[in-house]
Structure formats: structure tokens, C-alpha cells
Symmetry: C2
């Protein structure tokens, strides 16, 4: 079911995998553009119409009521509520270390330079519905926003055919501290957050995962509002040596493959006999699982066991693929990970399977996919703050620097820039006089 | 020439200004897509053809030679070289404070969580040619990249009709420490950086300003490579009270207006008599200036003097516009700026005109435009690093958490995730045994 590749002979699969980072789909863009335009123009009424069309329910109000939230909490098991609360604590503890402070530089009394760090005012969080409605996604988005000090967190999520939202989603939202929750999904939900409607306030930034329509809508409104990232299908790459347990490897490959048929689950090993073992284990473990069909499809299209000549080459392959999740199942994982340049999250050793990070340990599960870990990062507190530069020069400071500044301005052909420095010195009019002259 | 608005009566201009954040231009996208596709396929030969077509020169080699750089330095004035070196020092001093360190959290020996901070491997910097070829742009992009520890900085810039690059650009590149410089511009240059050609290596991220073609090309390749931001036309907003000097205000408005006809230069004041004074000063100062036509056009379309009822309202208007550059020319600027929520850079007091920040003081001059300071930040060291999460759980740690993790997994319908935890405990096969079994 899963292909076995000798990397020294066959690099085609690698090319195919790296090419999965697909271009935009035109028909999707077309309908997304219509949806964006209509919601921008007709606001709630357009949103209501699309909700009827896509979610199959007619909503009077989009806002989730206090009572709905309490009912949701009531019908969620105590155990699960405690699990989510523990997860939130872990996520908080990890993300608090990311808090950035403003800083200033002084040069006597003449120069003050600074970087102000402030929270983004209002953030919209998109939570998918249906089979991809994950309470953990609520925590992973809302908790860092709260830590950053975001003033208002608006969460949207599509309703089911009865106009309801999955209870554990609402429970997680109240545990994470979302300020308002609206029943809205798809591109129309993103449009509502980007442009604002009578019910849903316009936000400054939108984060959270979604299907291709949500992703394209986010890409379209980017610039008008901020967005986090355009997440692709999920990936796991496991580096294993002869000390690894094939049972665990198979289980972990499956845990990614079950996300969707586009997901990629890849084992890279310098220990050739492991390949057959793992293939065998995959067959055995597949029996019991609900999502078997999805898993088999994804293993067939993007699954692989890649044989390398040594551990170092395994690391090279990982760096080339730059996976979202990287598990290191080797005798000395702490030696191996130092060679890893590109990965969203690294899981070390046989008792740190990827689900530990998905739900619980603390680091964010929103990770760069499709090789984007080469240049981007897990969702973090930084995504919910903004910076502003601060510049103060005294008259002395400007006098000392004015020739340099004017010379560069002239070199750049920006005589107006040079002029704005010059007028401050060649003019007879002093600050006070000018002010007086201009006052009644 | 410049409109004077009473904000209590007229908010139309504000709406027009905020709407300047224009959508994509289809015909531009069409030709950009062709250029991207052709360079991706035909590499150097396509790049050579487009360079002939758009830059009017046929290039054998794109690489700028060591000798060309030395000649450029020789024909740049000592004074300007020293100015650029001083600017570089200031930029370094300011940006070094932005360095972020990796961190780790330990829970005894059972849990290790970390965030690794590493530089992006290879970065491409785009520097415009022609009248917008600014050596300061080279410093503002290359210096933060160097501080972040980027391994290789590739700079590209369009050649003139003689196949040459402006000397001060090459001088700045060598002062800032670019590793390689190539003569390539426009969408074809962005394509070369994103896909790689025989001469120009594929990069992980592209930063730097450019015309609409460059901007659209960056937006198209985003995801395949990282990009910094899509910068719009430049903006300045000046908050002034009765103590401000109309001469300085006029000069500073002009210094932005000269950038291009789309640039916005806006004065917001609660001191009505200032309006006439500044309008008068604009007329006077315009006389001497080379870029008079551009300045007049931009003041007519996007320039304004906005009258408010009090200083507080002036700050509100500034927050609504979220300007790229904000000057505070009031009696007590340090009291006023604290009310400012949205701005790229804030310039305090009458001796801190915006050009101080453009060239020299140290903060980056690449700033969020078109109201994007609501959610984005000046270019900084963070733009040249990436983060990776690190997760280690011991057997004990996983045992303590396994029920919670499995419960959340089950709630999310991801039985494969739960399975990857379960196999680690319900199996009789211990780590060692499995390894032994699997070894030859």
C-alpha cells in the first residue's frame, strides 16, 4: 500500500511531494470573489443567504447566546472539560515565554529611539465545522491571542443543519475566553470578519484553519486585514534508525494519514529492514480504525518509506521536505535534531508522538505546512501583536546629523526630503515666533 | 491646492483615503502570471529576454562582478560612503535589540519543551531601479537579515540601458554585506528568486519594495517562498497644535508627497488658523523643488488639512487612518503619542522630521502602509528568522497525560491519534525487544 523508495535511485516522489504546494484553483477563486463581494455589499442578508445555501439552515441571529454556551458546557463530560482546562494551562505556560516587550535606546537627552509592542485590537478566529471541528483548534488560536492582550476575540464557526455548534467547541471557546462567538462559516464567514456586517464586527486580523474556500478567502482579504497563514494538508516525517519500534512508527504515520487524503506520512530510515516491518504493522493497525479509507488513500498518494544510506542523509531528506511535524525515533534523538534546519515542530523520542503536541503539551499545533517551515513559524504570540517605531531627535541631534541625512536624500533625488531638514535651520523663524505669529 | 476639511462635517475624504487600499489589477496579474510561468520554465533565457524587453539591455551575465562593485565604490564620494556607514551602524544598533533567543521549559526530567529560533537560510532582497533606486533601501533590508544570521543574502536590482547599476546602490550593498548581487528586475526578477535559474539561486524568502508588477509577483509566489509585505504608496500624517511651525509642517508634507502621485500627506490639527498658514507655506516651498509636479498631483488627490475640535479628536483620526508615518508636532509630543494605537513609525517633536527615519536614525524605513499598521509591523529581525517547536515527553510524562490526550482525540473523531498513544502502552513489545526483533 505504501511505496518504498531508495533515495539514491529514485527522487521522483520527492519532487511530486514538494510540488503538492499547489497553485490557486480558479473556479474556487471565482465563487470566493462573488461571495466576498456580496457579503461586503449586503452584509447580514448575504451572510444569511449563504448560510442557508451552504450550511442548510436559516438563522435569525448569528450570535451564540450565553445560554447556548452554558447548555454546551452542561452536556460536555466533566473529564473532557478538565482535559481542555489542563491543555489550556500548558498552552498558556508555553506561549507566555513568547511575550515581547517594548524597548528604547537613549543617546543622552538628544536621541530617543524605541519599538512599541502592542496587541492587535480585534482578532477573528475561524473554527471549521463538521468532521474537522476541533476544540483544540479553539485553544491554540484563542490562548496566544489572550496572552498578547488582544482586546476582543471574535470566533466564528459554521452551524450544523439544526443551527447548532458542537458543544465541545463552545466549551473550549469559553475555557479559552473568546469574547463573542458567531455561527458563520466558509468564505462568507471570512468576508463578514474582513468587511464587517450588522451583526459581526470587522476585525484587524483573521487566524485559524479552514477548507480551500476559507483558505482562498483569507488570501483574498489579506492586506485589508492580517491573516496568519494559508495552511496546506498535514504532514509527518519520521526519522528512524534500527532502534525504533515499527509498531510506534506505523501508528504515528497513520495518525497523520487519517487527517485527509492529501496528508503526507513519510518514514525516512537508514535501516532497510525497518521498511517491511512498518509496512506489515500498517496493515495490522489499519484494521481497527474508523478512518481506514482516508488513511489508505493518503498513504497511497503521499505516503512513503524512504531508505537512506545513513542517519545524516535521513536528516538531509527531512531538511529538503521541511515537514510540518518531524518525529525523531532514534537511539539518540537529542543528537539528531540539532542537524534539522527546517521543521514546524520536532518530537523527540518514542514517547513523544505527534498527538502529544496536537492537544496537550503546550506548543502550538498551527504549524507551517508544505515546506513553508523553511521561512515561517508556528502560530505564536507574535502573530497577535504589532510593533511601532518611535523616533525623537533634539535640535542638537538633528544638527549633528543633518549633513549626512541631506546628502543621502540628495543622492536619492528626494530634494523635498532634504528640504524638510534644511528649513529647520536656514529659516530665521524660531519655533516660538512661528507659533506666536500663527496664533490669533 | 490642498483640501481643507472640517472632520465634523465631512468624512468623505477619509472614506476615499481608506479605500485607496486598492484591489488587484487584472491585466497586471495576467502578464505577471505569464512572466512567472516563463521564467519558471526557461530560467535564464526567459530572464534574459524579459531584461531585453523591459530594461532595454541584453545581458550575458546577471551577476555583478567584484570589479564592478569596486568601481562603484571608487566613484562614490567619500562623504556619502561615510554617511552610509554611519547609517548602517545606527540601523545595526537599533535592530540588534530585536534578536530573539530560543527558549526551553523543563518539568524535571520528564518533559522538555522548547522554541528554537534560527535564521532563514537564504534571502532575496529586491531593490528597485531608476528614480526609486535608494541605497537606504539596501541597508534597511540587508542589515536586519545579517543580524538575524541569514546564511546567504541575494540582492537583485534592474540594470539600466547600459547594463549598469547605480554606484551608490552597489556601494550600499557592499557596506551592508550582501553576498551576491544580480542584475534582474520586475516580475521576472521575483520569479528568478522564487524558482531559481541557472545563474540565480532559489531563495527561501523575498523582501524589498517595488512597482505594481513586483508587488503582484511577490503576492503570487507567496507560500512557495516567504515575502515581507505588499507595500502601498507612502503616507504621512501630522498631528499639530497651535505650537507647531507651519514652515516645518509644509516641508514635511511635501517630503512625503514627492514620493509619488499616490502618496498621501495629511495634516490633522485642532488649531484652525494653522490651515491657511500651512497652505500658504506649501505654495512658497514648492517653488524650489525638482519634483513639483508629482507633489502637486499627490497633494490634490490625497493631500488634506483636517480640522478637529480638540487634540484628542486629532489622535482618533490618526488611529482611524493608521498612517505609515506619524509626526507629532505639538507642545507635549510625549503625552500625545501614548494615545496613538495605529502607526508604522511615530516621529516626536519638531526636530524629528520623517527623513531622519528614512535614512539614518536606525529604525527600519520599511513600514506598514494603507492602514495595515493596525495589524502589521515595520520590517525587523523577526522577518529573517523562523521558529521550530521542540517536544520531548518521557514514558512517565506520557503515561500521566495519556488519558487526557486520548479523550480529546476521541472527541475530535481522530481515532488514529488516540491509537498512536495507546500502542505505546497496551503492547507487550518493549522498545528494546522490538529493536532487537527488527535487527538482522
Amino acid at each position: 500500500m505504501v511505496r518504498i523508495i531508495d533515495i539514491s535511485k529514485d527522487r521522483e516522489f520527492l519532487a511530486k511531494l514538494l510540488d503538492r504546494n499547489k497553485l490557486e484553483i480558479d473556479e474556487v477563486n471565482k465563487s470566493v470573489d462573488d461571495i466576498l463581494a456580496n457579503v461586503r455589499r449586503d452584509k447580514d442578508s448575504a451572510l444569511r443567504e449563504y448560510t442557508r445555501e451552504f450550511d442548510g439552515v436559516v438563522l435569525e441571529d448569528f450570535l451564540v447566546t450565553r445560554q447556548e454556551i452554558e447548555e454546551a458546557i452542561d452536556c460536555t463530560s466533566k473529564a473532557l472539560l478538565e482535559d481542555l482546562a489542563r491543555a489550556r494551562e500548558n498552552i498558556e505556560k508555553y506561549h507566555r515565554k513568547q511575550m515581547k516587550n517594548s524597548y528604547s535606546l537613549y543617546e543622552g537627552e538628544d536621541i530617543i529611539l524605541g519599538q512599541l509592542v502592542r496587541p492587535i485590537e480585534r482578532v477573528g478566529i475561524y473554527i471549521p465545522g463538521g468532521s474537522a471541528a476541533y476544540p483544540s483548534t479553539v485553544l491554540m488560536n484563542a490562548v496566544p491571542a489572550r496572552i498578547a492582550g488582544v482586546n476582543e476575540i471574535i470566533m466564528i464557526t459554521p452551524p450544523d443543519r439544526n443551527g447548532k455548534v458542537k458543544p465541545s467547541i463552545l466549551a473550549a471557546a469559553s475555557i479559552a475566553g473568546a469574547d463573542k462567538i458567531f455561527k458563520a462559516g466558509g468564505a462568507q464567514g471570512i468576508a463578514a470578519l474582513a468587511f464587517g456586517t450588522e451583526s459581526i464586527p470587522k476585525v484587524d486580523k483573521i487566524t485559524g484553519p479552514g477548507n480551500i474556500y476559507v483558505a482562498m478567502a483569507k488570501k483574498r482579504v489579506m492586506g485589508l486585514v492580517g491573516i496568519d497563514m494559508i495552511a496546506g494538508p498535514s504532514e509527518i516525517l519520521i526519522i528512524a534508525d534500527q532502534w525504533a519500534n515499527p509498531k510506534y512508527i506505523a501508528a504515528d504515520l497513520i495518525s497523520q494519514a487519517e487527517h485527509d487524503e492529501m496528508a503526507a506520512a513519510i518514514l525516512v530510515t537508514d535501516w532497510e529492514p525497518l521498511a517491511a516491518k512498518v509496512a506489515e504493522e500498517l496493515e495490522i493497525q489499519l484494521q481497527g480504525l474508523e478512518r481506514r479509507e482516508i488513511i489508505e488513500k493518503s498513504l497511497e498518494s503521499y505516503g512513503a518509506i524512504i531508505i537512506t544510506s545513513c542517519l545524516g542523509e535521513s536528516v538531509d531528506v527531512a531538511n529538503e521536505i521541511a515537514p510540518e511535524h518531524l518525529e525523531v525515533l532514534t537511539r539518540n534523538p537529542f543528537d539528531v535534531y540539532r542537524g534539522v534546519k527546517n521543521a514546524g515542530a520536532i518530537f523527540l523520542g518514542e514517547y513523544s508522538p505527534e498527538p502529544v503536541g496536537d492537544y496537550f503539551a503546550g506548543p502550538n499545533h498551527t504549524l507551517p505546512t508544505s515546506s513553508t517551515s523553511r521561512f515561517s513559524s508556528p502560530l505564536c504570540v507574535d502573530d497577535f501583536i504589532k510593533k511601532t517605531s518611535l523616533i525623537y531627535y533634539s535640535k542638537n541631534a538633528l544638527e549633528r546629523s543633518k549633513d549626512s541625512i541631506m546628502r543621502i536624500a540628495e543622492e536619492e533625488g528626494l530634494t523635498g526630503h532634504a528640504n524638510s531638514i534644511r528649513v529647520r535651520f536656514d529659516s530665521e523663524v524660531s519655533f516660538k515666533e512661528a507659533a506666536v505669529k500663527c496664533r490669533r
